[in-house]
């Protein structure tokens, strides 16, 4: 019984080793620190993929382990991006304005600088005043707090209302989607104070690091993303391996029974929903400096649906499944939609992958759900010699989100 954490969870060590190897490999093939085999934009793609793996991990906790099919976690991800983006954009613009005013005969007053920043940032949406939401944008520590606080409080308030009234299953999914949609529509408006559909841009330029090339920055962000993913994975594995994980899975399969054991199901749901929202926000805060731009389209409901698709294809209820799904599908998607996949000439019709990728993905999702609900993670089960219990198709509990027969292992 008394064994170390890693002895009981060997997959964690394997995962961390692979992640370290990957990071080292990319570093050695990068422009800044290696052979220049990988382009800087591809290093950024890989760094962003690691962030997507982290948000997929959060999704797996809330959906795969606890059965809440949230269609709002990419909204929390984007909100995290917006919060860090505000500082990046403000501080960077401030640098430029200070530089421009340096040539003036009189030294610039703080008011002049602030006005200059506001005009620069809000000129596109026809404003010249800094909205109240930008109050703390000049301070990195304050915006970092907001990265955690804004999505966290939104998730807390939303979750409190939704879980308290015991909305579950499909209805809860629809509710989370409505929240996402409302937030996106709000951000599209110019008077939301976040530049409407222009969003925030130039985020790849890190204030104070003007002298560092994008080649080096891309690798630094890759390291930061890998570290965040490693830490996230470690904590997630620790949480699900203990009694808390037991309670989460129990809630997924039969929440009524959990209540009669004396656990406050609503409290657990709220806790996990909020914490995973914060993890998603942190992933977003690392993602958008690598993407360089964020706009309200990023939190359209479809983004959250993709997130669910990644986790499903990777295999929900397994941490590595979520990571594999997110990495595999998002990289494949980049390849297909980047126009690099060769078109297929059928004689009468040419399959352009840019158009057909979505359909292929949709189809794979349906097929995986129907025939291999354990997803790509099932391959690992197969290799490890694990089998499904034979339950004549019965799920493992009465809840909507309960583990299905084929997702379970003996």
């Amino acid at each position: 019984m008394k064994q170390g954490f890693f002895a009981r969870n060997p997959s964690v060590l394997v995962f961390l080793a692979l992640l370290a190897l990957f990071t080292l490999g990319v570093t050695l093939l990068s422009h800044a620190y290696g052979t220049s085999f990988l382009s800087t934009s591809f290093v950024k793609t890989l760094g962003k993929t690691l962030c997507l793996c982290l948000v997929a991990l959060a999704m797996d906790l809330v959906w795969g382990y606890m059965g809440i099919l949230s269609l709002g976690h990419m909204a929390f991800f984007a909100l995290g991006g917006y919060m860090i983006g505000m500082w990046l954009m403000y501080a960077r613009t401030e640098e430029i304005v200070v530089q421009a005013l340096a040539n003036a005969p009189l030294p610039a007053t703080p008011q002049e600088i602030a006005d200059g920043v506001a005009t620069q940032i809000f000129g596109v949406v026809g404003g010249a005043d800094l909205p109240a939401v930008w109050t703390f944008a000049g301070s990195l520590p304050a915006q970092l707090v907001l990265v955690v606080a804004v999505p966290g409080l939104l998730a807390l308030a939303f979750g409190w209302l939704a879980f308290r009234s015991r909305v579950t299953g499909v209805y809860l999914s629809i509710l989370t989607q409505a929240m996402t949609l409302a937030l996106a529509l709000y951000l599209y408006q110019n008077d939301s104070g976040l530049r409407g559909n222009n969003g925030l841009s130039g985020l790849q330029n890190i204030p104070g690091l003007g002298g560092v090339s994008q080649d080096a920055l891309s690798v630094w962000f890759l390291w930061a993303s890998a570290a965040a993913l490693a830490l996230g994975y470690l904590i997630a594995a620790w949480v699900v391996s203990g009694k808390f994980g037991s309670v989460m899975r129990a809630i997924r399969d039969d929440e009524q029974r959990v209540r009669f054991l004396g656990y406050s199901v609503e409290g657990y749901k709220l806790f996990v929903f909020t914490v995973t929202a914060i993890v998603a926000a942190i992933a977003g805060a690392l993602y958008y400096p690598q993407a360089g731009i964020i706009n309200p389209a990023e939190l359209a409901p479809i983004a959250s649906i993709y997130l669910a698709v990644w986790v499903a294809i990777g295999g929900r209820g397994r941490l590595y499944g979520a990571v594999i799904g997110a990495a595999f599908v998002s990289l494949l998607s980049t390849w297909f939609t980047g126009g690099r996949a060769p078109s297929i000439d059928l004689g009468v019709y040419i399959i352009q992958w840019v158009d057909w990728w979505q359909i292929l993905l949709g189809l794979s999702f349906v097929l995986v759900t129907l025939f291999a609900p354990q997803g790509i993670g099932g391959l690992i089960d197969w290799a490890a010699g694990l089998r499904h219990p034979s339950r004549r198709g019965a799920a493992l509990g009465p809840n909507d989100g309960a583990l299905q027969e084929k997702e379970a292992t003996e």
């Binding site: 009694k243 309670v247 039969d254 009524q256 209540r259 656990y263 406050s264 379970a408």
Partner: protein, 247 residues
């Protein structure tokens, strides 16, 4: 003997249908009680009310020495106060091992933070092993409970109830799907448990009730029709008419 649970004047209506009608019921701190009654008499609904799953339209339900009203508590709070429940079907967490099922049920702080930081100590693991042995599952601790037979799942659920250490135990048709030997074992266990707590058993099987050798409450159309020893109630003409008479 003071009452542990006091239900008085409780009524519940589902879509205009009165499932429980002005029901009153008491049980002492260390007492075994059987509830019998025809299908649809309201036995399960009665348990739903006590455990907080169903809210009555009127009446009161109080529990413990300080007569705490259960009507304002959530299911989880009622369970924490010391009411345990066994369902008609065995309900265990099928994707988890026998060990995990029992560990979750073990009487420990239930708040998310406490559970997050909880790591089983040696005594906890020993207590789980002891409980597993008590319900005949000592050799199955590491098996997923979904693989157990129907009877073993019933036992696991009983083990989980023991782990919860409730002061009042509500048991819905425990003997369903059990072999004769298992029934005897169950009877003995229920009688044993009632030495230190209150146990309410709902059962259809008359032989089983007879072996429990305790006071019997007959429910019919949502209220108490008769109460007393099994022999006493089975002689009651009203009971014979509505229940026993139909075979």
């Amino acid at each position: 003997m003071s009452a542990l649970l006091e239900v008085s004047g409780v009524s519940v209506t589902f879509d205009g249908f009165r499932a429980i009608n002005n029901l009153s019921f008491n049980i002492g701190t260390q007492e075994l009680r059987a509830i019998i009654g025809p299908n649809g008499a309201g036995k399960t609904t009665f348990m739903d009310i006590v455990t907080g799953k169903t809210r009555p339209d009127e009446g009161s339900v109080t529990f413990g020495e300080r007569s705490v009203s259960l009507l304002s508590l959530s299911e989880a709070q009622i369970a924490q106060a010391g009411v345990g429940r066994k369902f008609q079907r065995p309900t265990v967490f099928e994707d988890q091992t026998v060990f995990d099922n029992l560990m979750m049920a073990l009487k420990k702080p239930r708040s998310p933070f406490a559970v997050l930081l909880f790591r089983p100590a040696k005594v906890d693991a020993e207590r789980v092993a002891e409980l597993a042995a008590e319900v005949g599952l000592r050799d199955h601790l590491d098996r997923k409970s979904g693989e157990l037979s129907h009877g073993q799942k019933q036992w696991l659920e009983i083990g989980m109830l023991l782990a919860q250490e409730p002061r009042l135990l509500l048991v819905d048709e425990p003997a369903a799907g059990m072999t004769l030997a298992e029934r005897e074992h169950t009877t003995a266990l229920l009688v044993e448990m009632a030495r230190t707590r209150a146990v309410v058993v709902v059962e259809h099987d008359m032989e089983f009730v007879r072996r429990l050798n305790c006071k019997v409450t007959v429910l019919h159309e949502g209220s108490v029709l008769a109460e007393g020893s099994l022999d006493h109630v089975t002689k009651n003409p009203a009971v014979i008419e509505v229940y026993l008479g139909r075979g």
